[in-house]
């Protein structure tokens, strides 16, 4: 392994600019003559808009324009859409309500935009926004997904009676019912998967500029997938033809899913910039982010597990109500369906599974993919059920899992997925060793001596990543293909630019992608640069989410590098008067087989461009190749997280005493970066399990709408983690990579809640397990123990 090649913990190339304050985030950009935009937003969760009076605001100092939903409609700017079609049980398509970028007739959640003010300064825009008078007709609202479809609930979109978007199912109902009918034991759980606010530290932002001479628009935005943004804004919103719209996502300060989606504000910025013929800049403040970024999770689930006399799992039955919010965000429909129910088999060989999912509108912010997207919800259902079942049956939770693991591959689950490779025993065993499971009893006794409760909890999770084979997702309703593109440009002097459709917003692609190239071509890593995030530079790409940049994005680079190598060999052949087929390439050197004749990388790249030696006119000059890579399967990262907690029953305070994660991500390009991804994922999962929860009051007001009320994990809330790996290379892509971005967030909530419920001896510990929740459970557990 070379110091900068595949497998090395190479320090990140991008860090130089971030640690010196010279990064270039969207809000850092300022265009000459720009106006600042400020949105007037609804304070009501549900109301008709009777009148929007902008006259007073238009006269305020510095104001260039005040635009409303009516103006937007007059200019025939289309609404936002959800790009994944889901079909209900009865064969009818999902019921998608209109989503205008500025509401004209009706607002459906607090924070819905009703007007935008454009002014010379942000302060002027904000002051003028105060003067916009909106006359609302307040309507009753509903925020609880479990009540949204009830009789008499307020109707949010006319197209969706009873607020029902779809009722969908997956699996074999009859076979599952039969499994339950013959079960020896059935474990039942009611689960609420709490609603989360992604809260990437960089708030969303958009700057739009109109070039009158060319009738072209440029948008700088905080996007995880600028090409998809351009496609949607062009094809569905109808803003401008694709070739007249350039989208640039520069440095992006974290996304976690929330920056995949196309949002109203970027549409409005583009439209406004063209209308007023000046650049328009909008930067979200954190309060707006809480109200308008797509939230995550928010499931209400009833789940049952059937187990036979041999302690084998024979069936799983799940009913979930998924809160979609007030509008269907870009990929919202796929999250509680194909990203959720398809993972309900977990790491287990379960013969029969049946899942039903009802997706409902409520008067809350839209809900869409957030780190893990569907898979954390699935893992939580499966891993809680399995843990509780083991406890009810008096079995060791590790052994019960092991007994039911999938052991041979490929394995076809009853819910679409075909697991290609894995070794679940190996990661479980390694994790148990690392946490010293044998001596847990001793540690528990020690804690008890000090009046503390100690608990341990497992989560043996699986996820489907490397999203995704285009044909497969197409057959499931996706509106796009999920391949990736790459272009490798080799300069005459031998330096290399990699253009990728993946987008880095913390993942370190500038380093890992360069490592791949350095390794493959034997060139110094400093001579490789990675270009991403600009639709004018990179032709097309699908962006970064679903832990896909390694497995799919890098595989595209590998394909392009194959072509580069083939062509470079031909160039070397001309240089050494040999056939290209007789050239060997190793460590940056081209050698004629069986001879000591060789030429170096730099010589070949220069000759590719001067083309002096190309005889016969067969070979084109230059050295640049592109490739599209479409995966043949999802990848299936899996592993085992074990959490150990100590709880003070007097106060309910939970301390995480130990955390072990053993993940199988297949082959690894940069272990330092992979570990960092795991740490961050665990922190978000711990946040969900112990701290975070977005809550709306019955009037539809978001009462956890700031960092004062929404508990973000801070340094003192978390322990250091023990992170390790096992490796079964992924057979479905050339690098054997599975992906690591979401694992931590998927695995950890179940591990933590399993540990807490183990400690308190009571299964009813809803997330977030705050001290008061845990205290109550601990009291309940002690009462139960005393009886």
């Amino acid at each position: 392994m070379s110091a900068t090649g595949i497998g090395a913990a190479v320090r990140r190339k991008e860090d130089q600019r971030f640690i010196t304050g010279t990064g270039n985030y969207t809000s850092d950009i300022s265009r000459p003559g720009e106006l600042r935009a400020y949105f007037v937003r609804s304070p009501h969760a549900h109301a008709t808009i009777k009148k929007v009076d902008t006259k007073a605001a238009e006269k305020m100092p510095g104001v260039a324009a005040v635009l409303t939903g009516a103006d937007l409609a007059n200019d025939k700017i289309g609404g936002l859409i959800c790009g994944w079609a889901i079909t209900s049980k009865d064969g009818t398509p999902m019921k998608m309500g209109a989503h205008p970028a500025i509401a004209a007739d009706k607002v459906r959640c607090v924070g819905d935009a009703v007007a935008v003010v454009l002014a010379e300064t942000l302060r002027q825009a904000r002051d003028a926004a105060e003067a916009v008078e909106v006359d609302y007709g307040v309507l009753p609202s509903v925020v609880d997904p479990a009540k949204a479809a009830a009789k008499g609930a307020p109707q949010i979109h006319d197209v969706a009676p009873n607020n029902m978007i779809y009722d969908w199912h997956l699996g074999d109902k009859a076979a599952t019912d039969a499994a339950f009918a013959s079960a020896k034991h059935v474990t039942k759980l009611d689960i609420i998967n709490n609603r989360l606010v992604p809260n990437a530290m960089e708030p969303r932002a958009a700057i739009a500029e109109y070039d009158q001479g060319n009738d072209a628009l440029t948008l700088w935005n905080t996007s995880q997938n600028p090409h998809v943004a351009r496609l949607v804004i062009s094809a569905f919103v109808g803003m401008a033809p694709e070739h007249k719209l350039r989208v640039i996502a520069p440095d992006v300060g974290g996304g976690f899913g929330s920056k995949i989606f196309i949002y109203p504000e970027e549409v409005v910025a583009l439209w406004a910039a063209r209308r007023v013929k000046r650049p328009v800049k909008w930067v979200s403040d954190r309060s707006e982010a809480f109200l308008t970024d797509a939230h995550g999770r928010d499931h209400v689930t009833h789940a049952e597990l059937a187990i036979d006399a041999n302690n084998k799992i024979t069936g799983l039955r799940v009913h979930t109500i998924a809160n979609i919010g007030a509008y269907m965000s870009t990929f919202s429909s796929s999250v509680p369906t194909y990203l959720y129910a398809t993972l309900l088999s977990g790491q287990y060989a379960i013969p029969a599974i049946y899942a039903e999912v009802d997706a409902v509108y409520t008067n809350t912010a839209p809900v869409d993919a957030y780190r893990g997207a569907g898979r954390p919800e699935a893992t939580f259902v499966v891993e809680r059920l399995v843990e509780v079942a083991a406890r009810e049956l008096g079995l060791d939770p590790a052994e019960f899992r092991r007994k039911n693991f999938v052991k041979s591959f490929p394995h076809q689950t009853p819910v679409i997925m075909t697991y290609d490779a894995g070794d679940y025993d190996a990661s479980l065993t390694k994790a148990m060793d690392l946490i010293d499971y044998k001596n847990f009893g001793k540690r528990k006794a020690e804690s008890e001596k000090h009046g503390k409760l100690r608990g341990i909890g497992f989560s043996t999770y699986i996820e489907a990543c490397g999203i995704a084979p285009s044909q497969a997702v197409g057959s499931l309703g996706a509106g796009v293909g999920l391949w990736e593109s790459a272009e490798v440009r080799v300069n005459p002097t031998g330096s290399i630019e990699i253009l990728t459709g993946s987008h880095s917003h913390g993942q370190g692609h500038e380093t890992t992608f360069a490592q791949l190239v350095s390794d493959r071509l034997g060139v110094p890593i400093e001579t490789v640069s990675v270009v991403h995030g600009d639709t004018d530079k990179v032709q097309f790409g699908m962006g970064t989410y679903g832990s896909r940049s390694g497995a799919v994005g890098m595989s595209a680079i590998v394909k392009a590098l194959d072509k580069i190598e083939a062509k470079a060999k031909k160039v070397a052949g001309y240089m050494m008067e040999a056939s290209g087929d007789d050239i060997e390439f190793k460590d940056g050197k081209f050698t004629v087989k069986g001879t000591d004749k060789s030429v170096g990388w730099g010589d070949v790249t220069l000759n590719a461009y001067i083309a002096h030696k190309f005889t016969g006119g067969q070979l084109e000059p230059g050295l640049k190749e592109g490739a599209f890579y479409d995966p043949t399967n999802f990848t299936f990262p899996a592993g085992c997280h074990i959490a150990e907690v100590e709880i003070d029953p007097e106060t309910g305070k939970t301390t995480i005493a130990k955390w072990v994660a053993v993940d199988d991500f297949g082959n690894i390009i940069n272990p330092m970066i992979v570990e960092g991804q795991v740490h961050g994922g665990i922190a978000q999962g711990v946040g969900q399990a112990m701290l975070e929860g977005a809550s709306y009051n019955s009037d539809g007001q978001l009462v956890t709408g700031s960092f004062m009320d929404y508990a973000m994990p801070r340094a003192a809330d978390l322990p250091s983690f023990k992170v390790d790996t096992t490796v079964t290379p992924c057979p479905s892509n050339p690098l054997g990579i599975k992906g690591c971005g979401e694992a931590g967030a998927i695995a950890s909530p179940a591990a933590l809640i399993n540990a807490i419920t183990n400690a308190v001896g009571h299964e009813n510990v809803p997330m977030p397990a705050t001290p008061s929740t845990v205290w109550k459970a601990a009291q309940g557990g002690m009462k139960k123990a005393a009886e």
Partner: protein, 165 residues
């Protein structure tokens, strides 16, 4: 509008500001030093931390006018020319950043912790002292390591040791 004179990263600036202008607005918008970030509107996240007369301050909570006559150091002024400050070096070495958005505030806070608490910092102290800085990416694990190593390096005046692989 009134005049404020501040020395930022060693350079004196006299700027005309409205009375309600925040220090962070002065730094980002008037001086175009965009390394100092804004991550919230309730002074909770620490993305905006700078040093005012040598002490860490959340620049989103301070009026520009109160900084009149003060000496301000932002992330852009921490390195000594092209030689990185040991704390910057430690963040890179220990992978204490991912998206980089919280990083300037984290580094400025970390240097302040060392200034106040010395260079021998245990994990518990570092975690407690980072109370005012939120990072959504790293889970803090590597930030804690970076701060400890950076603190040691600040004392030695040397570059932080390369981390064990």
């Amino acid at each position: 509008m009134s005049n404020v004179t501040v020395t930022v990263n060693g350079k004196s600036h006299t700027v005309d500001v409205a009375p309600e202008t925040l220090l962070v607005e002065l730094i980002r918008e008037k001086l175009r030093l965009t390394g100092t970030h804004v991550g919230c509107d309730t002074s909770q996240c620490g993305a905006c931390v700078v040093h005012v007369d040598g002490v860490a301050v959340k620049s989103c909570t301070m009026l520009a006018m109160t900084a009149d006559g003060a000496s301000v150091t932002t992330i852009e002024g921490l390195a000594n020319g092209s030689a990185l400050h040991p704390m910057q070096e430690a963040f890179r070495e220990h992978h204490g950043l991912q998206c980089g958005f919280c990083t300037p505030g984290m580094i400025m806070s970390a240097v302040d912790i060392v200034n106040r608490k010395g260079s021998d910092l245990d994990e518990h102290t570092i975690r407690d002292e980072l109370e005012g800085n939120i990072c959504r990416c790293t889970g803090y694990h590597n930030i804690v390591k970076a701060v400890a190593a950076g603190a040691k390096a600040m004392k030695g005046g040397a570059k932080p040791a390369r981390a064990a692989e």
